[in-house]
């Protein structure tokens, strides 16, 4: 491992750890916020920072101004025709996006707070949904229009669209800055500040150690518990392999980092230096994850033992038995997947899923089994007997306070985020997105190519990285819902489920998969081509569902709310005279 690889590895560690630690903190917040929203409560929204007016204006102005100046600066440069074409396309789409988004925000602001000039009065009677649909139409129009731009005209198009995008950015930024209300601005960020406030509180809390506890082990346990949750992230591939061309000295050095290749073939082959976006490209991949996550048991066991408390000991015992039991089912549920993928390396799995179908389609039973086992591994509802507050006070971290307790807490959420990342890597296509191949976008069913658009290597990599992290955030968000939906199992039910249901089902799934895989591989080319078409259909299904979900989400957000006032009491009449009891329109 030479110096440049070391530097790149440190960079990758920074990216992955930064993402996961922040996602864990946000997960704590999302858990509380979702619980409140599911149960019709207000939830955490009290923590507030009052920003001085000038600072608020600066925060509103800075990002658009930065992006605007950046896009104008980029438009002044000279690039190859292919890159210029791509840049023009991105510019057009971004311009449309920024336009409809800011018009929407303006429309909602005007309809809530009233217009202040002639321009804003136009938005008073507009249905915001029509703005959104108009924006979608413009997106499609922009895609069609870019088909007519030839490679010769691409540089000019890129320049013009760059200037337009910069202008739109600057205009939006300046107008939004002028609309910032007077006085100090209360910043609540939907309750995210509570995570920060909790952290500050935990730093200053008393660190209590029971009198007869084993001091060393008691302090060591939280670290042992949080360690596996952090180190397992080393084998997650979070993006396409980067490919650098060699500068002629046959040695991978810092000079090569400037020559990122422009485009790679559809096979993803790399002639120069390949840099996988993965901290450690181990050839045992998933086995390393199993080995490391098993050590998480030790942390819980030692915490329960060292606290000198019967309740803690019971919690530790429960945690141990539960995690050991479910690890068996967890490993066996994945064997079918390895048979299909023909590899245990997570990078290969992502490539396979990008070229064929996502794991959730080829192994639906395995997915359900693995998901159940994974929920049990993270010790969250409905499998949170180790912390069953109704019978053992708080489980194995009962005797912990301050930041040691915080480490257990963050460790739990880190495990949840990592579990989401593992689900994404194994079952939801890893960093691959539907129809995005190493050489660009290609919508094809079997051998029939419907639409093809070549992209640069850099664009594909950025999209893949964003895709992976976006999927992880989505799956994490989804996992929190289990907690607010399901009741807790009884302890004997939990053990029965693990040993007498999941384990036999996992073994059955493994055998069935082996038979099917053997049959499919020896069936001949006709079956193979049918399977390929099925796989492409599954990718199309994902793409369509994603787009439909996005549109439904925005339209649902913009749907106006009709409410009936009900003045039955004199208190309600007083409230109506005051203009309602809402303190301010934005309570969240």
């Amino acid at each position: 491992m030479n110096l440049v690889e070391l530097v790149l590895t440190v960079g990758k560690i920074a990216i992955v750890l930064g993402f996961f630690l922040n996602l864990a903190a946000l997960g704590v917040w999302a858990d509380r916020r979702q619980g409140a929203m599911v149960q019709d409560r207000v939830g955490p929204n009290r923590a507030v920072v009052h920003l001085p007016n000038m600072l608020a204006r600066l925060i509103v102005l800075l990002p658009p101004a930065l992006f605007g100046v950046l896009s104008i600066f980029l438009a002044l440069g000279n690039v190859t025709p292919r890159l210029a074409h791509e840049r023009a396309l991105v510019n057009v789409q971004l311009t449309v996006l920024v336009t409809w988004l800011s018009l929407l925000v303006l429309c909602v602001t005007v309809q809530r707070g009233g217009a202040i000039n002639k321009l804003e009065e136009m938005f008073e009677d507009i249905d915001p949904r029509s703005i959104f649909f108009g924006g979608l139409g413009l997106h499609a129009l922009g895609l069609v229009a870019m088909r007519f731009v030839t490679l010769d005209g691409a540089p000019a198009a890129a320049r013009i669209t760059g200037f337009v995008l910069g202008g739109v950015f600057l205009l939006v930024g300046l107008y939004a800055t002028s609309r910032v209300p007077e006085g100090s601005i209360p910043l609540r960020l939907a309750g995210t500040l509570h995570a920060l406030a909790d952290t500050i509180k935990m730093i200053f809390k008393e660190d209590f150690v029971p009198k007869n506890a084993d001091r060393l082990l008691h302090s060591l346990a939280p670290m042992i518990a949080i360690f596996p949750a952090i180190v397992v992230t080393a084998v997650l591939p979070f993006g396409n392999d980067l490919c650098f061309a060699d500068n002629g000295d046959k040695v991978f050095g810092f000079a090569d980092l400037g020559n990122l290749v422009n485009a790679v073939p559809a096979s993803g082959a790399c002639a120069g230096w390949r840099v996988p976006l993965q901290i450690a490209d181990l050839n045992v991949g998933i086995l390393y994850i199993f080995a490391m996550s098993s050590t998480g048991i030790i942390g819980a066991a030692i915490a329960g033992w060292a606290s000198d408390n019967k309740f803690s000991l019971l919690g530790g015992l429960r945690a141990c038995s539960q995690m050991v039991s479910y690890e068996v089912a967890m490993g066996l549920a994945l064997v079918g997947l390895f048979l299909v993928y023909d590899s245990v390396r997570l990078g290969d799995m992502a490539v396979w899923q990008g070229q064929n179908a996502w794991g959730v389609f080829v192994q639906p039973a395995g997915f359900l089994l693995f998901l159940t086992a994974l929920c049990a591994e993270t010790k969250r509802v409905p499998f949170d007997q180790p912390e069953g507050e109704s019978e053992i006070v708080a489980g194995y971290f009962l005797e912990y306070s301050g930041f040691k307790w915080g480490m257990f807490m963050v460790g739990e959420y880190l495990e949840m985020c990592f579990a989401s990342a593992l689900l994404v890597a194994l079952f939801f296509g890893g960093y691959s997105l539907p129809f995005i191949h190493p050489d660009g976008l290609r919508i094809a069913f079997g051998d029939a190519i419907l639409y093809e658009y070549k992209m640069t290597h850099l664009a594909v990599t950025v999209i893949s990285v964003l895709g992976f992290f976006g999927k992880v955030v989505l799956v994490t968000w989804f996992q929190v819902f289990f907690r607010w939906t399901l009741p807790r199992f009884r302890y004997d039910q939990l053990m029965k489920l693990g040993w007498t249901k999941l384990l036999p089902l996992a073994i059955a799934n493994m055998m069935l998969t082996a038979v099917v895989v053997l049959a499919a591989r020896s069936a001949g080319p006709a079956v193979a081509s049918w399977l390929k078409i099925l796989a492409d259909l599954s990718q199309a299904l994902i793409a369509v569902l994603t787009l439909a979900g996005f549109v439904a989400l925005v339209v649902g957000l913009l749907e106006p709310v009709e409410r009936k006032k009900f003045l039955a009491s004199s208190a309600a009449r007083f409230a109506a005279a005051m203009g309602g009891v809402k303190a301010e329109p934005r309570q969240a």
Binding site: Q34, A36, M37, V38, Q39, D40, R41, V42, N45, V108, R112, A190, L368, F481, F482, W484, T485, L486, G556, L557, V561, R563, K564, K565, F566, L567, S569, S570, A571, A572, R573, F574, A575, A576, M578, G580, V581, K582, A583, E584, P585, R586, Q587, A588
Partner: protein, 224 residues
């Protein structure tokens, strides 16, 4: 003579042994036992709530907890940012109503402190100085003290007052303080509170001595 209650499902049959009420077992169809279909339905329910409430929270469309209390969604009161107004007949903190010249209407007759079951009102009556037109007709309270910690908010003082001088229509509830002496409300403080309509007087007209409308004795009758 033992009174016989009517037989219901829940009463013990007279003379017979206690029999349990048969409860229907839950219907364990294959779908229920498979757990996942029901799980997905449950997820759908919690997601519906989540999206609806999150949207209303973020866009400031939360139902007003008092005016739109019948709407579903988050109708929690975020006290103290949001406050539920008290109903019209709510007895809040006392106030002393004022005359036109800004002095209290109270004539220090001690009716309220007499009527008070908690004995939380203490009034020191004093005569008007010689030469004052009201001297000989009424007295005024030199001190008027209400101990809001002792007060049980029964409203007897308001009922007892013959001049509409004390009222409990401020619509404010007693504030939590951190020391006892902060609960002792004196005359000047009590005169500063206003009713819910913002006025410090009362709607009932007051007839000062010497006015033609004054119903009581005048100095002309004093010779008789």
């Amino acid at each position: 003579m033992i009174k016989r209650t009517a037989q219901t499902t829940w009463t013990k049959p007279a003379g017979g042994p206690v029999t349990g009420k048969p409860i229907a077992r839950p219907n364990r169809t294959a779908e229920v036992q498979a757990y996942f279909p029901e799980f997905v339905r449950g997820l759908a329910v919690s997601m519906r709530h989540f999206f609806k409430n999150t949207k209303e929270m973020m866009l400031g469309q939360k139902p007003d907890p008092v005016l739109e209390s019948l709407e579903e969604g988050v109708t929690t009161i975020c006290y103290p940012e949001e406050r539920r107004p008290y109903p019209e007949r709510f007895r809040g903190i006392h106030r002393l109503t004022l005359r036109d010249d800004g002095s209290p209407r109270c004539v220090a007759c001690l009716c309220c402190s007499t009527a008070c079951p908690a004995q939380c009102i203490s009034i020191e009556a004093a005569e008007y100085p010689p030469g004052d037109s009201k001297r000989g007709y009424e007295r005024y309270p030199k001190t008027f003290v209400i101990d809001e910690l002792r007060c049980i908010f029964c409203g007897f003082c308001v009922e007892a007052c013959p001049c509409d001088a004390i009222r409990m229509d401020t619509g404010i509830h007693a504030v939590p303080y951190d020391s006892r002496d902060q609960f002792i409300y004196r005359k000047d403080l009590l005169m500063e509170f206003s009713g819910r309509d913002g006025s410090r007087k009362s709607a009932n007209p007051r007839h000062e001595p010497g006015d033609p409308t004054h119903p009581g004795l005048s100095r002309d009758h004093m010779e008789h």
